[in-house]
Structures are given as C-alpha cells and as structure tokens.
Symmetry: C2
Subunit: 371 residues, 2 copies
Amino acid sequence: MIASLQNDTFLRACLRQATDYTPVWLMRQAGRYLPEYRATRAQAGSFMGLATNTDFATEVTLQPLDRYSLDAAILFSDILTVPDAMGLGLTFVQGEGPRFATPVRDEAAVARLEVPDMAKLRYVFDAVTSIRKALNGRVPLIGFSGSPWTLACYMVEGAGSDDYRLVKTMLYQRPDLLHKMLAVNADAVAAYLNAQIEAGAQAVMIFDSWGGVLADAAFHTFSLDYTARVLRQLKRQHEGAIIPRLVFTKGGGMWLEAMGQLDCEVLGLDWTVNLAKARAQVGEQGLGQKAKALQGNMDPNALFANPAQIKAEVVNVLNSFGRPHTDSSQTGPTHIFNLGHGISQHTPPENVKVLVDAVHAHSRSMRATRT
Amino acid sequence: MIASLQNDTFLRACLRQATDYTPVWLMRQAGRYLPEYRATRAQAGSFMGLATNTDFATEVTLQPLDRYSLDAAILFSDILTVPDAMGLGLTFVQGEGPRFATPVRDEAAVARLEVPDMAKLRYVFDAVTSIRKALNGRVPLIGFSGSPWTLACYMVEGAGSDDYRLVKTMLYQRPDLLHKMLAVNADAVAAYLNAQIEAGAQAVMIFDSWGGVLADAAFHTFSLDYTARVLRQLKRQHEGAIIPRLVFTKGGGMWLEAMGQLDCEVLGLDWTVNLAKARAQVGEQGLGQKAKALQGNMDPNALFANPAQIKAEVVNVLNSFGRPHTDSSQTGPTHIFNLGHGISQHTPPENVKVLVDAVHAHSRSMRATRT
C-alpha cells in the first residue's frame, strides 16, 4: 500500500497547472557533493555496487531530501544501465567516468544488438519500488534514462569523448548502422521507462546529454526522431495518475521550436537559454503544438558564490521566466526550477539550502504580486 | 614591395560583395593532420618553438595552400600568445594542451595585469610580414586572437577545463575582478590585432572559443561586451584596403541576434546553426543592424566519411545557406565556407581536397542556376 502524495507541486507544474510556488529539484541532487553520499559510496565499494543495491540506492536517493525542501526525488542510477544490460560491460574507473568493455563499432556488433531482457534491469525497478516506499508520499519520484542518441555516443565511443569522432564517423559514413542502433536503443529505452513507471516512477525524464554536439540537420534525424520514438511508446498513465514526460537536451536551445513538437509535457533547458524567449516559443499555448512546462536553468557554478549572490541569481532565473499563471481553473505557463546541468561535486552543501529556500520564497512572492 | 592580390574572393565575400564561387578556408588548416606539419613540428622541438620561429611559422602557414585551392591563409600561432606576453608562462604539454605557469586567481594577480608591451609579441608580427611576403599575393592572410573572455578562461583556469569552475566562480563571486581582467584583455587584444594589421594581416578574426559555456545573461555581459570593446578599437583600413573583422563564438548560435549588432563584417558559425535561419536573422539587410557575411559550418567529423559522402555534405551546407547574391553592383548575402570548428588532427589529408574542390564546383553551379 503506497501512501498518497503530500507534495504534488512538481507534478502539477509538469502538467502546466497552477501551483503556490515554483517547485525545485536538482539534476544529480543525490551525489558526490554530499558527505553522506560519499560515505555510502565508500561502503558500496563501487559506483555500480551502489546503483545495483536496492538499499544503498534508496538511501542515497533520499539523502538530499533530508537536507533540503526539494519538491521531487530522482532515482539514483546511471544513464548507461541499458547498454550495460545489452552486454556491453559497464564499469566506472575512479576519476575517469564510465567505460564499456565491448564498444559497438562495426556492422557485426550492431547486428548483435537487441532490446535487453528487462529482467537484467530488475535492480533498477526494485530500487524504484523501494524508494517509493521509503518516500512514503513526501514528494514524487522521477525515473529516467539516457536518450537513444546519448546511449549510442557511449556505446560507440566506449567512454566519454571530447570530439565524438567515432560515433560521428559512423553517422557520416554508415548512417544505416547508426539508425539501426538508435532504433534498438529507442525501443529499449521505452521498455525500460515503462518498467520504471510500473515499478512506481511518477514522472520520467529522458536525458539527451549529447544531443547538442550534433550538426543542425543531424540533430533532427539522429537524436530528436528517436526521442520521439521513445515518447510514442511510453505509458501515459499508471494507476489512474498521469505520468509526465520530461526531455532535456543539453545544448539544444537552438532547436526549441522543433522540440516543442515533441509529445511530452516538460522541456529541460540549460543555462545558455533565455527563459523568457523559451516561454514565448514553447511555454505558451502554441500554434499546432502542445505547450510545454519549462525546467531549468541556473548555471551550477553560481552555487560557488556567496549566499546573497546565490539568492540574487535564483531571483534572476525566476524573473527571467516571469510570473507563472495562477488560475487554478485552467492550464498555463509553468516553471520547474532546476540547474542547467548536474550539480558539481565541488558544491558546498550549505549553498544548496540557500538556493532551494530562495526558490520557494521568491516564487511565492512573485505570485503574491499582481503585475 | 608586397605583390598585389591574385585571389580576393575571400575578402570580397567578407564585405558581402558578389563572388564567382564561395571561398573556403578551414580553421586549423595548418596543423597536425598534415604529415609535412608534423615534420616541421618535430624539427622545431615544441609548439612554441614552432610558433615563435618566423621561418617555421611561415612554412607551416603555407603548407595547406600547396595542397589545396584554399582562398585564404591564416597565421600559424596560438590564441594564448597575449596572456603569455602578460607574463603567465605558456607551455604546451604533449597531449594535454596549453598550460599557464602563473594563473590569475585573486585580486592581487588581477591588479598586476596590464596590456603587455607589443614588443614581446614581435615574433607574431614578424611571422605575419614573412608570411605575406611568402604568399606573394596568392591569397589574403588572416590574423587572429582569442576573445577577451576566452583568454580569461585560460588565464584563470590555468589550462583547459570541462566545467570552467574557477573562472565562473570568479564571475559569480567577484564579477568586479573579472570585469577588470576583461578590460585589460580587450585592450591588449585590440593592440595585438592592430599590430598584426600593420604587419600585413588583411583580415582579423576573434575566436570566442568558450563564449558558449556562459549562461545567457552572462554571455552578453562578460563575452559580447568585451568583444565589442575590441572591435571599437580596431583599425578599419590599412594602406587603403578595408580590413574585414570576423567574430566566431563556438556555441553562440542562440545569440545571433545580439551578435548581429556587433560592428564587424563576418560572423563565424558552428555546425549546430541552421545557415538558412542565420542568413534570415543576420545575413540579409537587417533592421538597425549591419548585415553580416556568414562563415561556416560543416561538422569537422564529416571529413571522416568517404569522398561521395563528403561531397554530399558540402552540398548540404552550401544549399542550407542558399544562393549568395550575384549582383556586382551592390552588397548582399554572402557565405564563406569553413568547418564549424578546427579540423581534427585525425583527418585524412586527401579528404580535405575533396571538400575544397566540392565547395568550388558546387558553389559555381549554384550561381549558374537561376532559381
């Protein structure tokens, strides 16, 4: 028996419903900047040891909620669990990031790819269920996956890259292979997110972390089209509740118009985007598009400033979006506060409290003032 | 006595004058992908040994012109020569990129900064004069510098960075210090480019390689305003010839409208930008802005495809800009073909010939067809 939700501000904002204040959560909010995370991580022995253990994953997911008045929890996991389940052999080398033992670089390797048995990802779904139970209705839980293109980047490169030479060589030289991989990835991501929804995720987010490295035309063909293929397959509701779908393309600000056509509820924005312009483009009732809630977009590095400066930056971001609508009888423009990218591991934890509290305080006062 | 120019296509396109074909040059065209470059580099012993030796710098600048029908040469040098002349101690560690011995991280270090004596950069100006002589009028020579913000990134970080945490901490915590540094940088860059112009540079380009990492508001305050400060101080003419000024902000596609207000002739674009949209925004006669010639923007990774695919990609980029104007009695939209970033060191040299020849052939045929 799962407890009913005490704070649905995030979910309401996702659905462009009026809220009393602007909800806030932070990408990578459960992570290395928290000493309690580092302690659990040390106990677990390795990153995957942490992610694959239900108790550890539950514990670290809840850690930031015990410190800060966050309005959502996000599953602690990694975007690369799906290719790992495909048999690519994911490891995390300390200080180097993820690495695949068997990258996918030729026709034979692509031909071997298939949607993995979701049983191999059971540790993720178990964690989702366990976290929902532990949350006990405090805030909603967000599930997530990497986008088909972002997974393909890692699958071909075998690790992070600064030029994406291998995956782009495939893109320009063997687009047929890349399309085949992306189709498998899209169907795998859809199955993965649907299983997270069934396990208890109350919203799902697709991280297109590397969409922004593509050329203009290539972004549409190799990233956006496959994100759309995922979205088409996702469950819209679970146990009577609508499951909002969030899409975040890092570096995708130039393609907002095209992303406005996606069948999802929320678009995440990085800090290079002007929120007022984005709201005008895709946040209001658009022409032939479903208007989107907008999520973002403070520069994570602003958290290295002093408290007064952090508050000022929060106010800048909130004011840049402007006053969200407040009419509870209809939908309208809404904003979910977040960073424009994951929080830095070097962030002083006390500064996050300043941010969260400032979002709540200023966004309440914005609604109180009629302009 | 300097020979008169035999191929002024690039300069004409910069000034939005009609040309018979679309001129092409490539960022980092003199570089590691060429075996003859690697041979000279080995002789020189180090990158700075190469850059500071007039004969070597001249030799490598001309190497790509001997292989390909490029329409411009660009000075072989580095964007970090100016902070080096400020006394920061530039070195290049093999495989790691540039590094400063004395980064600028506090009030005292910023207070010590001043526009360096241009005599310290004489090796650059000597190279410019030597290259002009060696070119003997084949094509025009482009001089360049890093932008004030891009120099500040390296000066504070002390090296490349993937999060720009130190320079952004200064930005959010001590904006006064950063503004002071940027003012010195802008005046130094202006003096540096003017000295290159006096030494023979026929166009000058400002590389804002890291403008794209800034948040929307911060880009305008900390990058664009100081690029404008450089432009205001640049010589407009030298020995009767207009000196076109090019500005390239990597990742700056979202800010094109603001960049359209810059007092320069050409905007460089990376591959994420849609050339047709950019042309409509800033390439046609705008409202209250000086229209710009546009330079770019093929993904350098497309050079890893096969010849037919490279040609197809060249055609895509040229067609994306569309037919440049052809009326020699007036100015109008023009395109300078380039990559969207520096050419990769792994590029097969024979593929560059395919690109250059395809640009010339297809752009001639575009002009022949009335549409």
